[in-house]
């Protein structure tokens, strides 16, 4: 695998959270359906990794599998390491980890909260699952502090309310408060803003970014919103049909995408600057689990495909911190991007 994490730390110690060669196979005909086929990801403290892909590309399944949430029928292989220790296939150890060192927030705050428990009680439970020595009263006090941390107004009063008394944005804040309850090192956010309107999206992104900066949180952001990626992420991994097709620092990926899929995604995005030409859609749709094309999975939809693409699967080849899985991408000839005038991305 290529250089991961920040340049100085990469050589010395393993990244905080690392997924290697992850394969997820759902039960199905002919040996099962492979939703994720050998994904490598890593994220370090204070860093935001965006995992981007269309619906069905395997981005959520990758993270669910890494958290051990896929259920007994699903076969998961590879390795999932936190601080160098492999947790895959150790359900009890993973359970203790979940919500403690690794937390997750979900897409839809409308359904991800228990409707018959007060918000305070849910945060309290989160604390007391992992530390029975905390009294109910202390935990409730901490829950109120957490609600204040995520900028919920009147936290004392809000803690005593039920989820239906919260608006969508407030619920997502409550979800984040729950996720932060045990001061996790890794936060996995599965499309945290999809169900929210644009102003609230911006607030939630702001909040996550603040937590990342203040607490050194390693944030994995699963999304298909390239705008959010540009605003928040340090590095981005593009998933297509269960594989990483490109992995790069965010500026590299946006200004000089090496994989035609990434390039197509960016062309399909409306822009505020420059000429407002027609958006270019990507023809066709992602292949189903049961019918992945041979060779490069993207070749039937690829604008620049050559015969080789339908026969031979391109490996993910890294040059420096930019990696792409395409026969036609030549990263080695590149010179570094000039630094932006404003003094670098954060």
């Amino acid at each position: 695998m290529s250089a991961v994490g920040t340049a100085s730390a990469a050589a010395a110690r393993p990244p905080l959270f690392e997924v290697r060669d992850l394969r997820v196979v759902f039960p199905g005909p002919a040996g099962g359906l492979e939703a994720v086929s050998g994904v490598d990801l890593s994220v370090d403290r204070g860093e935001v990794l965006a995992v981007v892909g269309e619906s069905g590309s395997g981005k959520s399944v990758t993270m669910l599998a890494a958290m051990g949430l896929t259920g007994p029928a699903v076969k998961v292989t590879g390795s999932v390491k936190l601080d160098g220790e492999d947790y895959l296939g150790r359900p009890e150890a993973l359970r203790r980890l979940r919500g403690k060192r690794m937390a997750m927030i979900f897409q839809d705050p409308m359904t991800a909260l228990n409707p018959v428990m007060t918000v305070g009680a849910q945060i309290t439970e989160m604390i007391r699952i992992h530390d029975r020595s905390v009294s109910q009263r202390q935990a409730m006090k901490k829950a109120v502090d957490l609600l204040a941390l995520v900028a919920v107004p009147f936290p004392e009063r809000r803690a005593a309310q039920y989820p239906h008394e919260f608006s969508g944005g407030m619920r997502q804040r409550a979800m984040i408060a729950m996720a932060m309850a045990n001061d996790p090192e890794v936060l996995i956010a599965d499309e945290p803003t999809t169900a929210l309107d644009v102003t609230i999206q911006a607030q939630i992104i702001e909040l996550l970014d603040g937590l990342r900066r203040e607490r050194g949180l390693a944030l994995v952001l699963i999304t298909h919103d390239l705008g959010i990626v540009a605003g928040l992420a340090d590095r981005v991994a593009i998933l297509y049909a269960g594989r990483v097709v490109e992995r790069a620092p965010v500026r590299e990926a946006y200004y000089r995408p090496a994989h035609p899929y990434t390039a197509s995604l960016l062309k399909a995005l409306p822009s505020l600057e420059g000429d407002r030409g027609r958006l270019v859609p990507i023809d066709g749709s992602p292949p189903g689990l049961a019918a992945r094309p041979p060779g490069c999975s993207f070749h039937p939809r690829c604008p620049i495909a050559v015969p080789r693409c339908s026969v031979e699967r391109p490996a993910l080849i890294a040059v420096g911190d930019h990696a792409a899985a395409c026969h036609l991408a030549d990263l080695s000839a590149r010179t570094p991007l000039p630094m932006p005038a404003a003094g670098g991305a954060r």
């Binding site: 958290m67 949430l69 991800a112 439970e125």
Partner: protein, 287 residues
């Protein structure tokens, strides 16, 4: 303009406030009937002029001012015995349903949550039990254990738990995939905690509705078992037992009339309340 429209709008708003939509006339009647029987069951020894086992007058007297529902073959007051009957039927129905709900819901929740072998075994047991007509199975169990109200209660639990297993299993299956359950698992909650704290509290409404309706059905079943001599034994003023005695003296219609009406009213009352609860919990289903 606002002043002109306001008075017209106010009464409609006020009516909805005072009486919620589910509180229909049948529900009110049902609540009244059940309240009546509960009060009777608790206080009846304090105000009846006769003892239920006492020979209060001449035998087989038709209704009169002294005996509003007449007297039975031994000269006992039918009305007093009918009112005392609630002291048997009501507690038995409540206990039987409570135990059946506890057993059925626990097994159903386990089946739905664990799935696999546990699910197969429990649900096949449910299927086998439900394959018998309830009265037949109850008769078989009581016959095996010997007659008596306590054995009849055991038999009634044996026939009524499977429905609750099915209801709870279906609820748990549908709730198991909810996102808040997944969120709880992602928070590191153990399996028992997820089931008890995050699934079961949301799973009760169908069970509650069915249990209310079942209270009436158990009253009826208990009376049926007593009628055929497998439930309450003779001197007991139990409704099925009294109807059974009345059947022997067919032309003294009043002997069976009191307990018959009592059973009818109680079944009706619980059904009405059950309907109301269903409307309350799930306004979309039904009419």
């Amino acid at each position: 303009m606002t002043d002109a429209t306001l008075p017209a709008a106010t009464p409609a708003v006020r009516r909805r406030r005072t009486r919620p939509q589910w509180l229909t006339l049948p529900v009110i009647i049902g609540i009244a009937i059940i309240a009546f029987w509960v009060i009777v069951a608790v206080t009846v020894p304090l105000w009846t002029p006769y003892d239920p086992l006492m020979i209060a007058g001449r035998r087989l007297q038709p209704p009169s001012a002294a005996h509003w529902l007449g007297t039975d073959a031994l000269g006992r007051d039918v009305l007093v015995r009918t009112l005392y009957g609630a002291r048997y039927s009501l507690p038995i129905a409540v206990i039987v349903v409570a135990v059946a709900v506890a057993i059925g819901s626990a097994l159903g929740a386990i089946a739905g949550y664990l799935g696999g072998l546990a699910d197969s075994v429990i649900m096949r047991l449910v299927d086998v039990t439900l394959a018998f007509p309830p009265i037949l199975l109850a008769m078989a169990v009581t016959a095996a254990l010997g007659p008596g109200l306590d054995n009849a209660a055991i038999a009634m639990v044996a026939v009524s738990w499977p429905v609750y297993a099915r209801l709870m299993r279906a609820q748990v299956l549908s709730l198991r995939g909810r996102e808040h359950v997944e969120a709880a698992i992602a928070a590191g909650a153990s399996r028992p905690r997820v089931l008890i704290r995050h699934i079961l509290p949301l799973a009760w409404s169908p069970t509650l509705v069915n249990a209310t309706m079942d209270l009436g059905q158990i009253v009826l079943l208990a009376a049926s078992l007593s009628f055929i001599g497998l439930g309450a034994l003779p001197p007991t003023p139990e409704w099925g037992q009294m109807i059974s005695e009345g059947a022997v003296h067919f032309y003294s219609w009043w002997i069976a009339f009191g307990p018959g009406m009592a059973i009818l009213s109680m079944v009706l009352g619980f059904s009405f309340v059950g309907d109301g609860l269903r409307d309350l919990f799930d306004p979309r289903s039904g009419t």
